[in-house]
């Protein structure tokens, strides 16, 4: 009898110990965001959903702290200090200013940033391949190589790629420099046409006629505002126009590989999960967007003198049917 009681007791103790091991302290992820904005809110939601999918359930084994600075730099700084003081397992910083304030103050806490276009320029990381320190993340830089792959898949014979850009827009200029470098690596040439305001876009696009086999537009605000002008030239001169953002496909460009910020957040969440599992942020290369959505506009392609393969159209996330 006593033996049985002892055995039961032993079993109960074992069971209790097992539960103890399972019911570990919840992991803490602190998310700071510079401002409420549809794209940035989508990133936040994406991070949480991805963590949940990977077994980190909020309220069970995960505590999520979330603060927005409401666009105020001083509050962003205080949020960073608050988070660092509470020693979470990971700090997620959404957008460049929030990431910089966290990086300025965080010493020993892993940081994963998101929605930062140029992490090297923002001095968050030493290089994209080896960030160093205790920080890594996902950049929302345009995946230009993947865009070029797509363009060349549609037009394998294109040798001269034309683009219209605003030399006064800092982001646009850095994209153009990157584009030129990537094209050169493939043995292709870039034909640039400058437009400093929307009214100059048409003239700039016309100057590409006869010089370019295809036109690729980056996310240059000036040019995208007047994308119709470039598309009109493309249709008249049979130069297919490709875009970096999906909205321009709806306006008459042939195709684009875009991404959405919710998926950007999911990818960030995957990195956060890896850090929670013990990987060192400084040894994780900065990622760019992997899940891209292909938008195609077969009717626009016809108007620009090419036909999109059925294979490509069937792969597309969305087929725009613009009869115009």
């Amino acid at each position: 009898m006593a033996k049985r009681t002892l055995r039961t007791l032993f079993g109960a103790t074992l069971l209790a110990m097992a539960t103890l091991v399972q019911a570990q302290e919840p992991r803490v992820v602190a998310i700071t965001q510079i401002v409420e904005h549809p794209a940035l809110d989508a990133v936040y939601q994406g991070v949480k959903d991805e963590l949940a999918e990977r077994g980190y359930k909020e309220g069970e084994n995960l505590t999520v702290m979330h603060e927005s600075a409401q666009g105020n730099a001083a509050i962003a700084s205080q949020i960073a200090r608050k988070f660092i003081g509470e020693q979470p397992d990971v700090i997620v910083a959404i957008a460049t200013p929030s990431a910089q304030t966290v990086a300025a103050a965080a010493r020993n806490i892993p940081v994963v940033f998101s929605a930062v276009t140029d992490p090297v320029g923002a001095k968050l990381v030493q290089s994209l391949e080896a960030p160093g320190a205790n920080i890594t993340g996902v950049s929302d830089m345009l995946p230009i190589d993947k865009h070029l792959d797509m363009l060349l898949r549609v037009m394998p014979d294109a040798k001269r790629i034309g683009t219209v850009y605003n030399p006064g827009e800092a982001n646009a200029v850095s994209l153009i420099n990157l584009l030129e470098e990537r094209l050169k690596a493939r043995g292709l040439t870039l034909e640039k046409a400058a437009a400093t305001k929307t009214s100059e876009v048409l003239g700039a696009a016309r100057s590409l006629v006869g010089k370019a086999d295809a036109i690729y537009l980056t996310t240059d605000n000036t040019v995208i505002s007047a994308a119709e002008a470039v598309i009109a030239v493309g249709e008249r001169a049979d130069i297919p126009v490709f875009a970096a953002d999906t909205a321009t496909v709806e306006r008459g460009a042939v195709a684009a590989l875009g991404f959405d910020y919710y998926d950007h957040g999911r990818q960030t969440g995957a990195m956060v999960a890896k850090v929670l599992e013990g990987k060192k942020p400084g040894e994780m290369p900065v990622e760019t967007m992997e899940k891209l959505d292909l938008f195609v506009n077969p009717a626009a392609a016809e108007r620009m003198g090419i036909t999109l393969s059925d294979e490509l159209v069937s792969e597309a996330e969305q087929v725009i049917d613009s009869a115009k």
Binding site: G71, N72, A73, G85, Q100, K123
Partner: protein, 299 residues
């Protein structure tokens, strides 16, 4: 409860905004000149300091240049008012809007990072203090020096003339004071202090950003009024101390608000809390000054 780091963070930001409150004290209280230029001169100071530091200029020299840039911005506002007779509030709004473009031009892009650069803080990290204590120690010194210099200036002949200009311009002119010149000097001084705050903020935050001026005027005013509610500004020295105390109280309030999960408050409630804080400070009994009279209806 607040962690050590959050507490030091509140002091760090509070001390920087104490400089802003000094500036707002000079324009709103001493000169009776409602000046909104600060929303532009704060990022201007940050931009000038950041760009010079990137170019390899000594960080203290860069910070000095930021002060001069702030003073220049303030002079523009004051000259628009004094020479072109544009209403003071409108003149300051014009300068503030113009400064947005100027700041973008100076930086060449919306954000200039200082994370890996040598700043005024760099040498202080070798003193053996905890990482989060360093900025507080340095900024206490900066604000103490500024406070003493300002206090002595306000008691000097020029300072007295400036105070007379704000108290009663007609009387001051009758005493032979060039009131126009006093306004230019005062508003320039005010924005120079704000430029200094911007430069220090950029260096402690690791970046200058064009958007960092948003709400500086409201926070500065809240600090000024809050401080006056705690310390009656019966003398210049007490008024200046009130500025610093008010700025730190404001930052502590924000830090507590960020920790006030118990009350059901969330991130998006911060702006509401700020508005409530400012309103409370304004209607608190015993605070009756020119700032308040500007923001309440005349009976």
């Amino acid at each position: 409860m607040l962690s050590d780091i959050a507490l030091y963070g509140a002091f760090e930001t509070g001390l920087i905004y104490g400089l802003v409150a000094f500036g707002i004290y000079i324009s709103f209280r001493v000169l009776d000149f409602p000046d909104l230029t600060v929303d532009g001169s704060f990022p201007l100071g940050a931009a000038v300091a950041a760009v010079l530091i990137i170019d390899g200029v000594n960080p203290w020299l860069a910070t000095g240049a930021a002060v001069l840039a702030g003073m220049a911005a303030g002079s523009v506002t004051a000259l628009l008012n004094v020479k072109l007779k544009i209403l003071n509030l409108l003149a300051s709004i014009l300068t503030m809007i113009a400064l947005y473009s100027v700041n973008l031009r100076i930086m060449g892009r919306p954000n200039v990072a200082l994370l890996t650069e040598q700043t005024v803080l760099t040498p202080w990290y070798d003193l053996g203090l905890a990482y989060h204590q360093v900025p507080v120690v340095l900024f206490v010194i900066v604000i103490a020096v500024s406070l003493i210099l300002l206090w002595r200036f306000m008691k000097s002949e020029t300072g007295l003339a400036m105070r007379a200009t704000g108290a009663n311009a007609r009387m001051a002119r009758a005493q032979g004071i060039a009131t126009g010149g006093m306004i230019v000097l005062g508003v320039a001084l005010s924005n120079g202090l704000v430029g200094l705050a911007g430069a220090l903020f950029a260096q402690s935050q690791g970046a200058a950003d064009v958007t960092m001026g948003v709400g500086v005027i409201v926070i500065g005013l809240a600090s000024l009024i809050g401080g006056e509610a705690v310390i009656t500004p019966s003398s210049v020295l007490r008024a200046l101390i009130a500025c610093v105390v008010g700025a730190i109280i404001y930052r502590l309030a924000i830090a507590f608000a960020l920790n006030a999960d118990v009350l059901g408050l969330q991130a998006q409630d911060l702006n509401l809390i700020t508005a409530v804080l400012v309103t409370l400070a304004i209607v608190l009994p015993g605070v009756r000054n020119s700032v308040v009279s500007k923001f309440t209806r005349k009976a």
